[in-house]
Assembly symmetry: C2
Homo-oligomer: 507 residues x 2
């Protein structure tokens, strides 16, 4: 590698390190920070955002980039580079172009606002009081629109934001996929709704010791191969995973005494994200190749471990006895079929993270529809609760009882993450493609899942997904795995097979 390329990478790596420091501050804010210091923390984050912007706009970085490419067009005119270096340059240019389009003061204020807004969302959520959060949400929306305008004033603002999380993806690509998905999901859902209901355990009638739930979560993380020497698990209001480096990956979860399911599925979900981060190639740390491919791909990993493993028949056939042993009073009367049916029970209910694999995607499509209206049109924050409830009624035929179960249930918008939700359903689509391929290539996979031996699966995922990082765009990566352009068939097939078995009826 030439000295000038190495020099460019050094600056880029410094920016990556600064971003990782900001992640430490955000992790601490969500886990251990005392409540009274939100202003001081926001101030730290604001300053750090400014410095990151200054690094992006520094003459050193600009001169270094100019050695290799045209700053206006991104065209690389240094022909002595290897193709992987050109690819890396293209990704570096992408990040630089976005950062460079944003005024530093804007980024700093937005960073501070997001930090505060997340704090007041939590207060609003806990008090079920929208008025606490509303003024922050209003500003967040305004900042998000401005951000899209700064980055690219010539295309739909929602496309600009979507591209931040799923590089290369647009509404015009997503809309037909989601339209098709919606119709197929609604078809399956309607068929299931008309079937005889299955026999399930009502977990909410029992109380599950939080300490034991935590013990179970740690066992599960150990089992799937999470490396506790290079990561940890903590509690937070909204579960999340963050990485400061592949050697320091932190996930959070939450436990409720009357909900056994949410605790371990959250842990497995975040555990899937965490395995991805621990599996990223350290040699590229701080550069785009050392970052995840896209949020859709990230979500494919969390959903794979949460659903394809953690809600699978094979896994529980091999592990139900253990969980029964942990909670003999609550589960002693039920067999593995009861348990498996109960954790996969399809039911329209208002909370996304508690929903089954069928209706989950409708929750996401609802948010996608509302987000597009918020960003592309002009909707007052005052009208959002009604719009939310109306859309839930249209899709799922239900109306949330409270804001906590409705508009306030997710932290994402408080964090300024518009354009992020669709990656959740992309994650389901990608996850099914990936799991189908892994099942083909690992002959023993089903037995491995039953035995709780995930060595082969983890290795396969590390080779084919984790270590790739941003060396490929998501559609390119998934297409290379599926062997054809990305489509929803594997996901729909997976759902039909699984739920036909559970509901004992061809769907």
């Amino acid at each position: 590698m030439s000295e000038s390329f190495q020099n460019l990478l050094n600056i880029v790596r410094s920016i990556g390190t600064l971003i990782s420091i900001e992640s430490v501050l955000r992790w601490d804010q969500e886990t251990y920070m005392p409540k009274g210091s939100i202003q001081s923390r926001s101030n730290q984050i604001k300053l750090l955002s400014c410095i990151i912007q200054d690094f992006y706009k520094s003459p050193q970085l600009i001169e270094s980039l100019e050695t290799f490419l045209n700053l206006e067009t991104g065209e690389i005119y240094n022909d002595s580079l290897e193709s992987s270096q050109k690819r890396l340059l293209k990704e570096i240019y992408r990040d630089w172009k976005i950062a460079n389009s944003l005024p530093t003061e804007f980024v700093a204020e937005f960073a501070q606002l997001k930090s505060e807004s997340q704090y007041y969302w939590e207060e609003a959520y806990n008090k079920n009081d929208y008025s606490i959060f509303k003024p922050y949400l209003e500003r967040i929306i305004s900042f998000s629109k401005q951000k899209a305008q700064f980055i690219n004033p010539d295309i739909s603002p929602y496309d600009v934001l979507l591209d931040l999380y799923e590089p290369g993806m647009t509404q015009s690509q997503l809309d037909p996929i989601f339209k098709d998905l919606k119709s197929q999901i609604l078809d399956i859902f309607s068929k299931i709704s008309n079937l005889k209901s299955i026999d399930t355990i009502n977990f909410s009638n029992s109380s599950f010791d939080l300490g034991k739930q935590q013990e179970l979560s740690i066992q599960l993380l150990n089992k799937i191969g999470f490396n506790f020497n290079c990561g940890r698990i903590d509690l937070s209001t909204h579960p999340f995973t963050t990485d400061f480096h592949p050697t320091d990956v932190r996930l959070t979860t939450r436990f409720k005494s009357n909900d056994l399911l949410e605790g371990f599925t959250s842990t497995l979900h975040e555990g899937g994200h965490a395995l991805y981060e621990q599996g990223i190639d350290q040699q590229w740390y701080g550069t785009p190749f050392g970052r995840y491919c896209s949020l859709g791909v990230h979500e494919s990993q969390s959903r794979l471990w949460e659903n394809h493993i953690g809600k699978s028949k094979s896994f529980w056939q091999g592990h139900y006895q253990k969980i029964q042993g942990l909670f003999p009073d609550q589960l002693g009367d039920y067999n593995v079929d009861h348990f498996y049916q109960s954790i996969n029970h399809v039911k329209a209910q208002p909370i996304r993270v508690q929903s089954d694999e069928i209706t989950y995607n409708l929750h996401v499509l609802i948010r996608y529809e509302i987000e597009k209206k918020i960003i592309n049109e002009s909707i007052s924050v005052d009208d959002l609760p009604d719009l939310w409830n109306q859309t839930y009624h249209d899709y799922l035929g239900i109306t949330p009882d409270s804001l906590k179960e409705g508009l306030l249930q997710d932290v994402h918008w408080a964090s300024g993450l518009f354009g992020y939700f669709p990656t959740y359903t992309l994650g389901n689509i990608y996850g099914a493609i990936i799991f189908e391929k892994a099942s083909e290539e690992i002959q023993s996979l089903d037995k491995n899942i039953q035995d709780g031996d995930f060595t082969l699966l983890r290795q396969w995922l590390q080779t084919n997904i984790h270590s790739v990082g941003r060396q490929k765009r998501s559609l390119e990566l998934i297409e290379s795995i599926q062997g054809e352009p990305v489509n929803i068939s594997p996901f729909i097939n997976y759902l039909k097979n699984k739920y036909s078995d559970i509901y004992n009826s061809a769907l």
Copy 2:
């Protein structure tokens, strides 16, 4: 305040905020960071140190300072400033002068080294194996000497380092104070050693539940007025207190099941530091006036709460029943006098933080003597264990059984803190002066201590010590309280009175 002065303060405050971010990284390293990520954390700290140095050396700060003073001499030539502004400028100049004398690359490497070194000290400590830590210590010493040389090559290097922690203090001022103190302490110690030993409880024969010890610590912190909305307590190998802002002050402690004393005294000690940080005037945050006066003054606060309150007869007369109730099996057979005598039992033993108020200072003087040799002379790290043991033998007549109880017991040198230890004994001297004065001015103090009502004492300390920050130098501050040049009489009187009572003999 003029716009140019405001502008200067803004840059200074940014540096303060960056330092607070570095403190978050260090706090996390000592509390929650997974072991495997030490390299990545050191790298983050190194980069942040570089950026702080860049801020200090930025043309903006230099131009801003030049508006007010001569950069070579520090002479202030702007006569329109108020005297407090001049004072603040003088302190800003002091910080700038030190930072500016250090090459950025040197600071960055030293920061990285300290972070790594602290990590390997912990490993060496846990394994009682000096060889793990020795190469790091060697480099730390070399860097510390270089640092002194950079800051001021014309004076004794130890004076340069001492001045970093106790601004204005020199060996020539300290030596006579410490000589006098040593002789008086050794006199008291020798008298006590010749007296009949007192009746004490052997705590190490019992087991004290760690959860209950934690409960006790939290109760004590609440009692002394620590604000948990703006701070928290965690566990670490070596207890410490750090602040990111007066609204985010974090202390750590440690508990051992066979040592009741260490847990609560550590908590009260760190609690005293924490009250100081919570009491600092927020309007000066990020500037020198918003920082503690000196480490000696900081230690005066920790020792005041640890010893003058937490090891006092009055406090335990009012609180022994509670601790007895918490540990009925272990303490049921003993009365408050037993307990009070036991926690104040004078005995030569190898560990500084476990020592009584008499011998404690000998532990500090030992370190002071060794440190001066390390920094001013050339001692090989190979010779340090012997030098340590010999000096312990000379002062206290004992030899540690292990490195864990000897040279490896303190984290300070691993953190590059040479010149720091003497501030511990200064803290005892200052603490006695402050407590004597507070006792004079708060008529009800003794009763308040017995009742556990610390409102008046805390207010007094906040007004007279905490809120002053670096508006005064330590000797100036303490002299203004004592009403005469700082001397050891109040401390010696305090010790003689306390231990004459405990040992029932005039000392």
